[in-house]
Subunit: 438 residues, 2 copies
């Protein structure tokens, strides 16, 4: 089978999309309507190819193009040929800037609902709906994308709610059409926050379990209500995961023990709250620059004895506690921990003081290598650390560091206390779920 | 030779001192005037004995007594007996509270200048002048004692200036009298800040070198001016020690190197300033709770490239620098380092990152074990870390931690780069100087 990768770009302006006829490039389908398309050469990046095709074809420059999203690649078979179409959606502000110089190319701005009326290249409509989202869904995605106040747990539940909402407003009646639509929403939910692994985990798990595992038996008696019910059950199960986490945590957090925690972790807080009858004592680092450790201390002070310390004192206190317990922003494939800046230093202090260092989190926080590589190390506002003013002083303010797995005594999850080697097994499960997008 | 330790306490009120006659206790000298005196039993603490004697003898309670100071013990030989007198001075507000019940004891309030007129126990006058200080000297000592704004370097130079001043106002004409007076001032200078090792170092060094080493040759042609000149030369030499420090530091701080420093150290700052042509880059921890690292950064920014980081980020940055360089509050006999809270954690991070960790300080910062044991670990104001308000949260805020010697690559001093084993040699020199008080 011969494979070709191709980009197909839809330009949108004022709720209309641009289609073109007669491109010489995609020589197979001359005379048919298409998006701005072109072959991806070798291992070229599809994003770059998309931009290149548009600028060459339309005379627009990159600054005229607003990238909206890209969709799930679409495979189109034609005998022994296989074309993998990478659909893109761009918005443009000034359609009058488009200059099609080759005379035999015809262009049209059409309503997307009219796409069926045109004789298009194969799969054009399907490709379009892989980048199209209704305004309601788009709005919800934007909320998740721009959310800076909530943690991953919350955001992934928002994503699940969005899947449920997409099902509710869906007008698709067959399993295949519904799957195509919901899966596309799932894809975009993952794509808007590629660095938030828990979103990709829950979204792909739901899609995989409903559409793949259930496919055989439920295909015929499928209804969108059954999907909605499935999602609701999933949400209930998620809520229970805290109990499992607490159960496993209770195996290490013994009666009358003292623990040091760093920064703010809602999971650590909820677990400690549930273990309040154990007469535990907590030391909380203040966690500069934003002092979120104070929030930890304030919340916990209603349940256990809490003492706030400066971050620099963590090494000193490590010698006085029974162990260290922190949350997790993410757990990487090799079992290392991404968490608030300073975590790795505290883990080192724990090792030195010979006290155990635990991280506690849902397995949703487990990251594929490919996912983690998408996280850009954010350089945060320097004013959080120091107001530079007109001084010649610089500031470095990044929020996360990586704690190597050999500093970690155990990763307490809702499924058990994991060692680094257990992580790759869990990651494989996640990879299986993500195969739903292939 | 039989030895007896004895306390002799002078009570002062309104510039007069109390003397007593006929105490049965000190049976050797019945009928002679004395202070409130009594034998120290076994290994009893002399301070406790002093309080006990006064309360038993005068009917005063401890709260009526204001401890002023204690002086250099005085050895009085009498044939084969040796009495070691520990002189104390207390101030009292209400002399009318004194109740001497045993009738054969006579008491008198006298001006200290009249002491010679009385037939006293041997050495009473000498003992008194070991606790007496003129108002001018007392004022200077109080300033040093209550100073919270200055560092040890500055305070020890204040102490040296006070020695010089004491010499200037001295009316003693012989070597022995002058030595007795100046040495007593030196003793009290050390005693007011027992935790500031540099004061004991410089004071004892000056006294030892002038009065002990020079004794033989200079005894006859002694003048107080020669002492003043000696002190002035000493001050000049001290000023030069920064050049020596810089010279040794320059052996490790190479061109184009990056260094992490913690908190604020005037020595580190002065050395870096002098090495500014080396194109050094400095990372400075902000140093919570009082952010003195900002001061470090602000000062250094006129000389080198400086970046401020949170304390928690020190472990992360340790991997990116060529080494770590910090000041020292003190260096202990075993080569360990007392410095701003967090230093030991950063040293641990340095070890982990396999970069060298240096502390840089004058040898004046070297502490005898006995001196260090006198430092009370201060629990600082919790509000510096967190304003508790009516919350049930506690705060721990101590300023210093101890970095074990095996984390320290070298102790850069004005005499060279020392290892832990070199420290005890230096401490022995200091012990020799301190023998001037024996």
């Amino acid at each position: 089978m011969k494979k070709k990768n191709i980009v197909t770009c839809f330009l949108e302006h004022n709720h209309k999309i641009l289609i073109l006829k007669g491109s010489e490039k995609v020589s197979t389908y001359q005379g048919r309507w298409a998006g701005v398309s072109g072959y991806i050469e070798g291992d070229e990046d599809s994003d770059k190819r998309a931009l290149k095709e548009i600028t060459v074809e339309t005379g627009l420059s990159e600054k005229d193009l607003i990238f909206v999203r890209k969709g799930i690649p679409l495979t189109i078979k034609n005998g022994e040929f296989q074309r993998i179409v990478h659909p893109y959606l761009f918005r443009i502000e000034n359609p009058e800037l488009i200059k099609i110089e080759r005379e035999h190319i015809e262009i049209k701005w059409i309503d997307y609902a009219e796409l069926s009326k045109y004789q298009t290249v194969p799969g054009l409509k399907k490709a379009f709906f892989r980048v199209y989202l209704s305004l309601e869904i788009e709005k919800r995605l934007d909320e998740i994308k721009n959310d800076r106040g909530h943690r991953a747990d919350f955001l992934s539940m928002l994503a699940v709610e969005t899947l449920k909402y997409a099902a509710k407003i869906s007008e698709k009646n067959t399993f295949d059409d519904f799957f195509e639509e919901i899966r596309s929403v799932g894809w975009h939910l993952i794509d808007i926050r590629p660095g938030t692994a828990s979103i990709s985990f829950v979204v792909s798990e739901i899609l995989y379990k409903f559409f793949n595992e259930r496919k055989k038996r439920d295909r015929k008696k499928f209804s969108k209500e059954s999907f909605i019910k499935f999602v609701e059950e999933y949400i209930e199960l998620e809520k229970n995961s805290l109990n499992s986490l607490t159960e496993f945590a209770s195996r290490v957090v013994k009666d009358n023990s003292k623990w040091l925690t760093h920064s703010y972790s809602s999971t650590v807080i909820e677990v400690i709250k549930k273990l309040k009858d154990r007469n535990i004592e907590i030391y909380a680092t203040e966690s500069r620059p934003l002092f979120e450790g104070r929030k930890t201390a304030e919340i916990l002070s209603d349940y256990v004895k809490v003492t706030i310390i400066t971050d620099a004192k963590a090494g000193y206190i490590a010698k006085e506690v029974d162990g260290i317990i922190v949350g997790a922003d993410s757990i990487l494939q090799d079992g290392s921990l991404v968490n608030k800046m300073g975590t790795s230093l505290i883990a080192l202090a724990a090792k030195e003081a010979r006290v155990p260092f635990y991280t506690i989190c849902n397995t949703r926080k487990f990251y594929l290598k490919s996912e983690y590589s998408k996280i850009e190390p954010e350089e945060k506002d320097s004013n959080e650390v120091y107001e530079i003013g007109d001084r010649k002083v610089s500031v470095k303010n990044t929020y996360f560091d990586i704690t190597p797995s050999f500093y970690i005594s155990g990763i307490i999850t809702e499924k058990g206390i994991f060692s680094a080697s257990d992580i790759s097994k869990e990651i494989k499960i996640k990879e299986k779920y993500l195969s739903i997008f292939k």
